[in-house]
Assembly symmetry: C2
């Protein structure tokens, strides 16, 4: 059997990368837009650089932490569902192993295997790792690579912080005159950049 | 071949349900917390019921739309990545079908099939639907059920709106005296309820 001639993510690696990518895109956009809205609002009330910095930093910290917490909670729900489906599958494998073996063969047959090959394949997959075989064929998940809430939380925290720093610096660094124009242009540039780099990351 | 004795989601149905479930949990929590923060802040400045209602409704509309847009953009990134991986796989199947067939057999063998059964299974799967077989075994995705950005956007819009209505009603309906206490208690109850029902939905 020849080795595959190219290097690819296999079974679940893609889903795991897409989990943090989605969280990072949501976090970056939210960081840019919500921080820009905050500092532009404060700039309407005062020219004080320290007031802008205080409000912006408070918004950055509150936003990145609440975003990370939200991702943690919602992706945990997703992971809990995966764990619940696996537990149900494990119970069925214990209580009715014969029916589960027939079901696996049946599903493999529907995917194009002949009845004989499907039966052999189902038996061999079950002997190696019954839970993994059923999780993959029935549920489309890999028990070794469940969705990770910490990855989503970390990615959205970092992305929100980086995204929020941009409008914050754009409004604090320039003098009061061109401040707003520079901030609006920076936000537009940042949103274009986020869209562009997420498209590149996605297609990579 | 006997029919499976129970009804389960098969291959991808779970992932598709978890996509909107995750988005709904994130949206509901954000709707509850951000609207509560907004109306409690306004209540510190005024007792006027109409001012509270105006601020709360504005926050509800802005929040639910921005949440839905954020979900649409970030889940689209995820879907684009899936489409890019499928396009790459399609290209490889066209340019080097023999190497891809060997790779599929090799991957099936690593999952526990004997070399002969793996070779037969790889050939039969490739004859039926080569792209679907490679997408499932190599990438862990189902080409017919890619992550849907509209589902995520719709779920988070609805969940944010329902979540935001609760603190809004809790602060607008009671008289000014017990207003804040009732709102805080409602928010706590709503967060517990969200956690509880998402756990139920997840395990269902």
């Amino acid at each position: 059997m020849t080795e595959p001639t190219h290097d690819e993510p296999h079974g679940g690696a893609l889903g795991s990368r897409l989990n943090w990518l989605r969280a990072a895109v949501l976090g970056a956009n939210d960081g840019i837009v919500s921080t820009a809205g905050l500092v532009v609002g404060v700039a309407g009330a005062t020219d004080s650089r320290s007031a802008l910095l205080t409000a912006g930093l408070a918004g950055l910290l509150a936003g990145s932490m609440s975003m990370a917490a939200g991702e943690y909670v919602s992706v945990s729900t997703q992971r809990d569902s995966e764990l619940a489906a696996l537990a149900e599958e494990r119970r069925e494998l214990r209580d009715q192993p014969e029916a589960e073996l027939r079901e696996l063969a049946e599903l493999l047959e529907r995917r194009g295997l002949s009845p004989e090959v499907a039966r052999d394949a189902a038996r061999q997959l079950t002997e190696r790792d019954a839970l993994r075989a059923h999780a993959s064929v029935e549920l489309g998940i890999d028990p070794d690579r469940l969705t990770n809430p910490w990855h989503a939380a970390g990615a959205s925290f970092l992305a929100f912080t980086v995204g929020a720093l941009l409008p914050l610096l754009a409004i604090v660094l320039p003098p009061a005159g061109p401040r707003l124009v520079i901030t609006v242009l920076s936000v537009l540039a940042a949103l274009v950049l986020t869209g562009f780099s997420s498209a590149r990351l996605g297609a990579a």
